[in-house]
């Protein structure tokens, strides 16, 4: 499943300056794992040492916070858009 993965500038620097990437996988976790393989410096910013998401990094699958779905186990489908946003904002 090919999905579009968007990174904030602070993380795009670790992905050869690319803020939008095409990635494939069956779940969000697969997609993140693939990105981690392609960009080793980006890997520790997207997932912790146990492979899970950080509390201060929020992943949105088509506008929905994946914490309301199944986190990294959330299935993705062709054409989905995944957006990474630093959670420290607002209030």
């Amino acid at each position: 499943m090919a999905v579009t993965f968007s990174l904030p500038t602070v993380l795009a620097k670790l992905a050869d300056g690319q803020s939008t990437l095409q990635v494939s996988g069956a779940t969000l976790g697969d997609v993140v794992a693939q990105l981690a393989d392609r960009f080793p410096r980006l890997a520790p910013r997207l997932r912790d040492t146990e492979g899970g998401p950080y509390p201060f990094v929020t992943f949105y699958l088509n506008d929905e916070d994946v914490r309301f779905r199944s986190g990294f186990a959330t299935p993705v489908t062709e054409g989905d858009e995944i957006t990474v946003v630093a959670a420290i904002a607002g209030g």
């Binding site: 602070v10 620097k13 506008d63 309301f68 957006t83 904002a89 209030g91």
Partner: protein
């Protein structure tokens, strides 16, 4: 006939130069130079300003002699040099409330009344006063925010006054008073379909894309420090001492966190002594992720989708939730969640006992304090401050159908007599 001219207070702090402080990550400790950036490049944790511990600090008499605004505490605000904008925000009344104290069964109770904060009638004027000076110092010509209403009002008002462009983002279902109270200043106001958390996400992306100074996004480290001035003012207005307990509403969790920081900073400076106040946080049950975090003893916030009329504090994914929980626990305080019905009753109780008309968040604070008193968490010997953070005229919808209808009569004395007799 003469007309009294209403003029702004004479600015007393004027300098062409203002330098925001460098920042440090609260999670990994990496220091970063001053910049309109709020997240750590290393770990994406939150940044906060770093103060020089050797900087000269004023004594109580020096502070007391300064103009009555939040800038009288400028040594604890995140700049070197003198601010030039929004010099007259803050220093709101601390109102003695004996009738409400009796209702709660505590020794003394005061209202920290930010419902009359200048210029936009909420405590958000404090944080925006800090952020807009940061924006000016960084040379940004556009400011903005993601807001549940009060911040929109504050940014729009202070940007208009400063001559800065403003892009303001709000959920599309906000109360009319909050919308009008923003639009009147002629910003770019964008109503976003979704919750505040959806707005916040869009704004985070906008800050990244457009390079604006979004006060609670990329200026957040500087912005948040303005909240400490609530604690500073409470100390000074109580005669340079601390209360035993403070109750505040929680949305993103920043206010409670910064209250704790403010009280600690004044204690370190020797301006107050004794045990730091117990901090109590309140939320509406329809959006209570920080209350649930404290109650559960957990470490990380579980986000929720807000369902409450307390829209000004309806943040389902609070950025400072973890820090607020830590501040509350370490102070010996606790939390209270209240129903929408109870928060409306809280608005009425505050009005009827103190003459202060607050918005829904204030109703949550009052109702939460009542609940905490009933649980025995607020005690008979306590000296309590309730933080009332916004003005009731902004959320009159909350009281629709709740207050009694006012009778309509002809201008005839017999009709008034009949009405008077009926009410006797």
């Amino acid at each position: 006939m003469t007309t009294a001219l209403v003029t702004e207070r004479e600015p007393t702090l004027q300098s062409p130069t203002l330098r925001p402080l460098p920042q440090v990550c609260r999670l990994c400790g990496v220091q970063q130079p001053a910049a309109p950036v709020a997240i750590c490049e290393e770990c994406l944790g939150p940044l906060e300003p770093v103060y020089d511990p050797a900087r000269p600090l004023p004594d109580a008499a020096t502070i007391a002699a300064r103009p009555a605004s939040l800038w009288r505490y400028r040594e604890w605000l995140p700049f070197e040099g003198d601010p030039t904008l929004s010099l007259d925000s803050g220093f709101t009344p601390l109102v003695d409330a004996p009738a409400l104290a009796r209702r709660l069964g505590v020794a003394r109770l005061w209202i920290k009344n930010d419902s009359v904060c200048h210029p936009s009638l909420s405590f958000k004027d404090r944080v925006v006063a800090a952020a807009i000076n940061a924006a000016r110092a960084f040379g940004l010509d556009t400011v903005g925010c993601a807001s549940t209403g009060n911040l929109a009002n504050a940014v729009a008002a202070q940007a208009a006054r400063a001559g800065l462009a403003a892009w303001i983002f709000i959920p599309d279902d906000l109360e009319l008073g909050k919308v009008v109270g923003t639009l009147v200043y002629n910003p770019h106001l964008v109503r976003v379909r979704g919750t505040y958390d959806d707005v916040n996400r869009l704004c985070t992306q906008a800050a990244d894309r457009f390079g604006w100074g979004l006060v609670n996004i990329n200026l957040r480290g500087y912005y948040g420090e303005g909240s400490k001035t609530v604690a500073f003012e409470i100390c000074e207005q109580l005669g340079w001492r601390v209360p035993t307990a403070v109750v505040a509403p929680m949305a993103g969790g920043s206010l409670v966190t910064k209250l704790g920081k403010g009280f600690a900073e004044f204690a370190r400076a020797g301006l107050v002594s004794g045990r730091a106040p117990r901090l109590y946080g309140t939320q509406a049950n329809g959006c209570a992720p920080i209350v649930r975090l404290v109650e559960s003893g957990g470490e990380h916030v579980e986000p929720v989708i807000p369902r409450t009329i307390a829209r000004s504090i309806a943040i389902g994914n609070p950025a400072d939730g973890r820090f607020a929980a830590q501040a509350i626990r370490s102070s010996g305080g606790w939390v209270a969640g209240v129903s929408d019905e109870d928060l409306v009753a809280g608005i009425r109780l505050l009005a009827e006992t103190t003459g202060i008309f607050t918005e829904t968040a204030g109703g949550v604070t009052v109702a939460g304090a009542l609940a905490l008193a009933q649980q025995g968490r607020l005690r008979p010997d306590d000296e309590v401050v309730l933080c009332i953070t916004g003005n009731g005229l902004k959320t009159v919808e909350a009281l629709q159908g709740v207050l009694p209808e006012a009778p309509v009569i002809a201008p005839k004395i017999r009709e008034l007599e009949a009405l008077h007799g009926r009410d006797l």
